[in-house]
């Protein structure tokens, strides 16, 4: 009983609870049909939100005003870069992935350079950067039908006993991210900066380097996500990352990470991503129109956050 109570006290449990509830509602509607397939599909799609969500989580944890709005543009450009470097050739998969990572890291580094050199709020810096990246992507990927190599497309769609391999790898990655956040100097520095940037600086935390690394990390994860998305959907395009602006912020906050910074929650990102994907599947299964689907999605997000309640001293 006591262990159940400590489990319920964890903020991330609610997002998993919500995901389970939505899944049950859907299979109740279909009469138990397709419940397993739904989980497979949800896991495959949630992976992409989780990867950028973790990057966004590190950035948001740095404190109020820190957010990476360049992720959609970053994903779009990296997807094009990866597909172009791979050039449909299985032998170039690793090189293409590295190119996408490098592209994302460069974008992250430029973001921090703008924040640092111009002393502007990260929202504005990453927003301005995303405009420029978008143009680069449009002119770089113009008129190209870029397909992934068959081996890469198969890898991103690979399943073992109905569980996507990419999802397993992403679970390992998120466990790693949790260890980095809670047990390593870098992660503790991110949390310390988010709680009180001045106190962290006085305590000897290298604030500039930690923030630089965090924006670069977020950029790198955006780049990786772009390459994987292009593999999964069998092609790169400029708009491939558009939905991940709102999704990356939403999963972080629904997952229990504080927008005031200094308090991150890794498992919650998974729960919230599954919740959002399953919610979409449920509304599609019910056969509602796009308009109704959007209204319900919005009301449920507001409802969830109201029920979960805010913490003290937010924003």
């Amino acid at each position: 009983m006591a262990s159940l109570r400590t489990l319920l006290a964890r903020p991330w449990i609610w997002s998993f609870f919500g995901a389970l509830l939505v899944w049950l509602a859907t299979i109740a509607f279909t009469g138990g049909y397709g419940g397993g397939g739904m989980i497979t599909a949800a896991l495959s799609l949630a992976v992409f939100t989780v990867i950028v969500g973790v990057g966004q989580m590190f950035v948001i944890t740095l404190g109020p005003g820190n957010v990476d709005l360049s992720l959609p543009a970053n994903i779009g450009l990296a997807s094009a870069v990866a597909m172009k470097v791979m050039d449909g050739n299985d032998a170039m998969i690793a090189v293409g992935l590295l190119a996408a990572l490098a592209c994302g890291m460069a974008i992250g580094a430029v973001n921090y350079l703008l924040i640092w050199a111009l002393r502007i709020p990260p929202i504005i810096a990453t927003l301005s950067a995303s405009f420029v990246i978008q143009s680069v992507d449009i002119s770089y990927g113009r008129g190209l039908q870029i397909k992934p190599p068959p081996g890469f497309a198969d890898f991103t769609n690979w399943q073992v006993f109905g569980i996507p391999v990419l999802a397993i790898l992403t679970v390992l990655f998120t466990i790693g991210a949790g260890i980095v956040l809670q047990r390593m100097i870098y992660g503790r520095s991110v949390l310390a900066i988010g709680q009180n940037i001045r106190a962290a600086w006085l305590a000897g935390v290298n604030v500039g380097r930690t923030r630089f690394l965090t924006y670069t990390l977020s950029g790198a994860l955006g780049g990786l996500d772009g390459a994987l998305l292009a593999g999964y959907f069998r092609g790169a395009n400029v708009d491939i990352g558009n939905e991940y602006l709102l999704a990356s912020i939403a999963v972080v906050v629904i997952g229990g990470t504080s927008v005031a910074g200094g308090k991150a929650n890794v498992p919650g990102v998974w729960g919230a991503a599954l919740f959002l994907v399953l919610l979409l599947t449920m509304l599609n299964t019910f056969g509602v129109s796009v308009g109704v689907r959007l209204v319900l999605t919005g009301l449920i997000i507001v409802g969830v956050i109201t029920a979960a309640g805010g913490q003290k001293a937010l924003r």
Partner: protein, 303 residues
């Protein structure tokens, strides 16, 4: 002193760049064309400024403007009374959001993020396909051509003056800004923080409604996605105008100037400046970066 002049200097910088690239643009017709969308952008920026004054952020203002646009192009024309009721009701929804955010101590980013889906969904339900038509009186108002000074400039001056007076010169305006500056002090002085939050959100709703209506008056018909870009534009406008995310430090005049700067940067005139369509979005970003860089240089010299 120089710092408060920075937004104006930014605007001057962009104007000089335009005059240098295309001298013919500096004319009555040129300004009317370049500042075509300045009125709705300025109104949306003012809307965003009110929530920022209370240390909150509204990520739904863009889709809200789109929703208002759809109502304006359908019900406000065909059944004006119902249209007015819906628009007033939507301001009421904003007020309720303010109350909810205060009472449950919720992060406004998430609540308004959720609401952005709601407004967009309702806009699609009202107008599944682009269409509708603006009421005639609205079309006539937005097509107004005063002598000598283009209408967008007069409207911008009017908006800036009215909001400046209301927020910076009245005693309740001070209370509203104080709720972002030092809420604890305000509470101890006996003011209701719930009421200030409701007031700020209701004002955001009101100016969002005005922005949507002005937009439809210019474009003549609506589309559910018409306002989507306004969320980020409005935030950028407030910051360009010298506002800050926390501390209740905002400036209505600065916000309007910031909105004008962005409207110029996003104007159709970029096409005539030999900038290929692929790079027009980049030009917007570059202008933002250059203006902000200039700001840093100026404030560094001041120190």
């Amino acid at each position: 002193m120089l710092r408060s002049l920075l937004p104006a200097l930014s605007l001057a910088l962009v104007l000089i760049a335009i005059a240098w690239l295309n001298p013919r643009a500096i004319s009555y017709f040129g300004f009317s064309l370049m500042l075509n969308l300045a009125i709705p952008i300025a109104l949306a920026t003012i809307a965003q400024m009110f929530v920022i004054a209370g240390n909150e952020l509204d990520l739904s203002i863009g889709t809200f403007v789109g929703f208002v646009g759809c109502v304006t192009a359908t019900w406000l024309k065909d059944a004006p009374l119902l249209g007015v009721v819906i628009l007033l009701g939507s301001i009421g929804v904003y007020a309720l959001l303010g109350a909810l955010i205060h009472l449950r101590n919720l992060p406004s980013i998430v609540v308004t993020l959720g609401m952005s889906f709601v407004w967009q969904g309702m806009a699609i339900l009202i107008l599944p396909k682009p269409g509708g038509k603006a009421p005639d009186w609205l079309l006539a108002l937005m097509a107004f051509k005063p002598p000598f000074i283009p209408f967008p400039i007069i409207a911008a001056l009017l908006i800036a003056a009215v909001v400046h007076f209301g927020l910076m010169r009245t005693s309740y305006g001070v209370i509203l800004r104080g709720s972002g500056g030092n809420s604890a002090a305000l509470k101890r002085a006996g003011w209701s923080l719930l009421r200030t939050k409701i007031a700020l959100f209701a004002l955001t709703g009101l100016f969002g409604v005005l922005s949507g209506m002005a937009l439809i008056g210019i474009t003549t018909s609506a589309d559910a996605n018409i306002g989507n870009g306004y969320t980020l534009l409005s935030i950028a406008g407030v910051i360009l105008g010298g506002g800050e995310f926390v501390g209740g430090r905002v400036s209505p005049i600065g916000a309007v100037i910031g909105a004008l700067t962005l409207a110029l940067a996003a104007s159709p005139l970029l096409t005539f400046m030999h900038i290929p369509p692929d790079w027009q979005v980049a030009a917007n970003g570059a202008i933002l970066i250059i203006v902000l860089a200039a700001r840093v240089l100026i404030s560094r010299r001041e120190r």
